[in-house]
């Protein structure tokens, strides 16, 4: 119930303004999420680093300005699109960066949102317009 409340809190029923930033967010599991423990245990250190750096459901993959014409496959089942008004694209474009530690790629994407949010967005059809409070739900993996 609390999750639903939070979800509804983020969603705005907005009809009469221009969007300011749009987020393309991974909506599916990664193919390596289905590996068993035996396979993971057999990985070399480099392979394990790469495995751990894989993108995950909820990762913010791309950020674009309002009105972006997304591609045919930039939608479900691969991605959801979250449109956020009253945000400057310049202020939020860095949400699409990887997480590096020196020259080691720790995570393909540094920022993500909760998987429960993604599940709700999938149920709602994959394209959402939310309030700028959405930013507070973004998690920094660092």
């Amino acid at each position: 119930m609390k999750k639903i409340f939070l979800f509804l809190l983020f969603i705005g029923i907005i009809t009469n303004f221009c969007y300011s930033a749009e987020f393309l967010i991974m909506a599916k599991n990664h193919w390596k999420d289905y590996w068993n423990q035996e396979t993971i245990n057999g990985l070399s250190d480099k392979e394990l680093t790469e495995y751990n750096a894989r993108s995950q459901k909820g990762d913010i993959i791309v950020v674009r300005p309002d009105g972006w014409q997304w591609g045919r496959l930039e939608t479900l089942p691969s991605y959801i699109i979250v449109k956020v008004p009253n945000l400057s694209y310049e202020d939020v474009k860095d949400y699409q960066i990887p997480l590096m530690e020196g020259e080691i790629l720790r995570k393909r994407r540094r920022y993500n949102i909760p998987a429960s949010f993604v599940d709700n967005a999938i149920s709602a059809g994959g394209v959402l317009t939310v309030t700028s409070q959405f930013i507070t739900a973004i998690n920094d993996k660092q």
Binding site: W31, E47, Y51, V62, G71, K93, D94, I97, E103, R108
Partner: protein
């Protein structure tokens, strides 16, 4: 007709069953394609291509009005020599040897330090025909994250890479193949941070440095290259199999080479345009007339130049000079005279 249709269907199914290798084809286009960024495409298609018995072709299509500004990572794929990844551009989105071609695709820069980071998926990879515009905070256009089996970087333009390490950084124990690459306004060019490599092959590259830059090509095997204007050295610690190179300093002659030219600094005499912001490093004349030496014939490996022209003279650098031909991609005007009787 019906029998023919049935026959073709059976043939198709038979081929699928017996010769399972199939193509996964995706497009990246500013509008109307599968994806609008290369990163969204690479991320979405991550898979074990060997088990799937597929090869992945990513075609960058159409004309572009703005840069693709999302940093890319190519990892978590499994590839082999036939189940490989190819990233290429169509005739509208490729550069035709001209970094400023209107409508060409640019992998541009907004954030991060690596525009294309390549790990395991790049073991069997070809990337060609596109521009890396590193004018933002990027320090690498391409960086190999680990030693790779057989990546190929072909017919690329890279410019304005800032400080730090090489614009195209390879690993010394990779077997990377680099050809027909144009770089300008860069602080470092192509190289490996450690070790001297005989397995990284760098052919027919043209690099002109920005002011205050360090090394042009370092620690790889280098043939038919022009490198100029680097403050520290144009070439540094090359493989001793390197040959047929030209430099603005003396470094093209530093290694055990038979044919080289040094002290070549009249850049505006060699290239179509060297002015900041409008650079065009295609040749004004054949290499023999410009530098007094000619490149060696590498037709056993490849036969084209950065514009797709066939190499006959084997000019040094990324461009094959073609007498009387205006540069492709809008470099000159052509007139057609109609004579009416």
């Amino acid at each position: 007709m019906k029998i023919l249709t049935i026959f073709l269907t059976i043939t198709l199914v038979f081929n699928q069953l017996c010769f399972g290798l199939s193509q996964i084809y995706k497009t990246v286009q500013e509008s109307g394609g599968d994806y609008t960024t290369l990163e969204a495409c690479l991320n979405d298609n991550e898979q074990d291509l060997v088990t799937a018995d597929c090869y992945l072709d990513i075609e960058i299509c159409g004309t572009w009005t703005a840069d693709d500004t999302t940093a890319c990572t190519l990892h978590n794929y499994t590839t082999d020599a036939t189940r490989k990844i190819t990233i290429y551009a169509d005739s509208d989105s490729t550069h035709d040897g001209n970094a400023w071609k209107s409508g060409a695709y640019n992998l541009g820069s907004t954030a991060g330090s690596v525009m294309l980071l390549i790990s395991d998926g790049g073991n069997y990879l070809t990337i060609k025909d596109i521009i890396f515009n590193c004018s933002g905070r990027y320090t690498y256009a391409i960086q190999e994250y680990k030693a790779l089996t057989s990546p190929s970087y072909e017919n690329l333009i890279m410019h304005s890479s800032l400080l730090a390490s090489s614009t195209l950084e390879v690993k010394w124990d990779s077997s990377s193949f680099i050809k027909n690459v144009m770089m300008f306004d860069v602080y470092r060019g192509i190289g490996t941070p450690t070790g001297v490599s005989n397995t990284v092959v760098c052919n027919n590259v043209t690099i002109l440095a920005a002011d205050g830059s360090s090394y042009g090509i370092l620690r790889v095997k280098c043939t038919n290259c022009f490198v100029g204007n680097f403050d520290t050295e144009d070439y540094y610690s090359l493989s001793d199999e390197s040959d047929y190179n030209v430099s603005s300093d003396t470094s093209a002659g530093d290694e055990a080479v038979s044919t080289y030219a040094t002290g070549k600094t009249s850049y505006s005499d060699y290239f179509e345009n060297v002015s900041d912001g409008t650079e065009d490093l295609r040749l004004k004349d054949e290499d023999q007339n410009l530098w007094g030496i000619s490149g060696t014939d590498l037709s056993g490996t490849f036969t084209d130049d950065i514009e797709g022209d066939t190499r006959n003279n084997w000019d040094i650098g990324c461009d094959e000079y073609v007498a009387g031909a205006p540069p492709a991609g809008g470099g000159g005007e052509q007139s057609i005279i109609l004579i009416l009787d």
